[in-house]
Amino acid sequence: MKHDALLHKWFNDELTDVELEEFKKRQEFKQLQKIKESTDRIEEIEFENELVLNRILSDKEKKNATPKVRRRFLSSIAAAAMLLVLAGVLVNRFSNTSIAVSNSDTSGELTGDFPDESNYILYAQSKIQYDTDSWLTRRDVKLEGKAKFSVKPGKAFQVNTSMGQVLVLGTTFEVSAYNQVFEVSCDEGKVSVKTQEQKSYTLIAGEQLIQSENKMKVSKINQEKLEGFTLREVAEEIEKVYDVKIEFSTNELEERVNTSFVTDDLDKALKTGLGSFGLKHQVLNEKLIKVTDK
């Protein structure tokens, strides 16, 4: 059977008389004509138009439906994987099916759903933007400010900010954003983070990434990775993780380094975190450590 424009014109009753005569000469014409005539007699699918319309129009929830200010977290978030993103300013073009939600409130939170029942909490002074038409194939959200997302399983879900991107690899997550700080934390599932410098990091449950100015901290389950930190700041991180106090007998602490330390062994942490830069430590007691450069 021939597949050409004439076939479709015939199927849509758009043939001119001359074209119809031409089409009739085809071997398959009679069979096709019979099918078309019979399908013309198929009745439209029944649909209780007015009943359904009335149910919708009398919907009581409608009034609170559009994003509303709410001061509590969604309880469903607790079970969901959580992702926290802090980011700066974002500028992007609007397409005609783009939806932008802004929360200009100074304290409240705005909650709402995406077309696939994924939802968001938009914090004060923040804005998200997404495209409804392409949502099924591309779940891309542009974020300016701070927001949290809980995402239904499905296609990849990506949050774009001026400071980096977050791609959800697992099931559910949550996002929030602040100026000039990029922060992602994952409580469950798996997310991939790409920074402005095109560096990629994968975070699993319990892990966190914070980037601000020229510093980057990746908190893994049992390891903390620091980039662009001064030795003093590295020591401060160790203090926080192990709840100890570090005293220095040197002032050479402003050098910026890339380092990492484990979070379950203080001695090892001090050796790798600071020791590799020529600093020696001495544990004075459970809470106090002395660090020297001798």
Binding site: H3, Q31, T39, F47, N49, A65, T66, P115
Partner: protein, 167 residues
């Protein structure tokens, strides 16, 4: 400016598109009440989000919401089609044999449509029954117009073969 939050505008949008959305769902699910439920949910979502959705993208929006809801439904029933009882006048007049033959043909056609791959069936019926234009179907299904043509062609090619089963 007309917005979807205006009841009159929403009603108009609903009357224009709800029926074809319902049909679209039925052609896949084969279940009239499931199709109607999803149609209702999709338009309910649109109504609740009326402030966020632009009038021009309302149809695409409800189709997308409905498609997403359908993703979770794996069960498919046979798509049943009703043929109008009205008899077609032919030059030879109507004979009981003719009516019987017509009924047999319709049963064969219904079965052949049921047996079409889902993608072909949906496109074929949306075009034939709901009279949607190829371009509209392409847009709503997120496929190219060429893909619509291909599916119509494949459906027609499969369906025309039932003629041979009828003496």
């Amino acid at each position: 400016m007309a917005t979807l939050c205006d009841e009159k505008t929403f009603t108009e949008v609903f009357r224009n598109y709800a029926k074809s959305l319902n049909s679209y769902l039925y052609y896949q699910l084969g279940d009239t009440s499931q199709a109607q439920d999803i149609t209702q949910e999709a338009f309910m979502t649109l109504w609740r989000k009326c402030a966020e959705v632009q009038l021009a993208s309302a149809r695409g929006y409800v189709f997308m919401v409905a498609k997403n809801k359908m993703l979770n439904m794996v069960e498919r029933k046979k798509v049943k089609l009703n043929f109008s009882k009205q008899t077609v006048k032919t030059q030879s007049g109507i004979t009981p044999e003719h009516i019987l033959e017509e009924k047999e043909f319709q049963a064969a056609l219904e079965q052949a449509i049921q047996n079409l791959p889902e993608k072909q069936r949906v496109v074929f019926l949306m075009s034939r029954i709901d009279r949607l234009k190829y371009a509209e179907i392409a847009e709503l299904l997120g496929i190219s117009k060429k893909a619509v043509e291909k599916r119509i062609y494949l459906a027609l090619d499969a369906l025309r073969k039932i003629n041979k089963q009828i003496p």
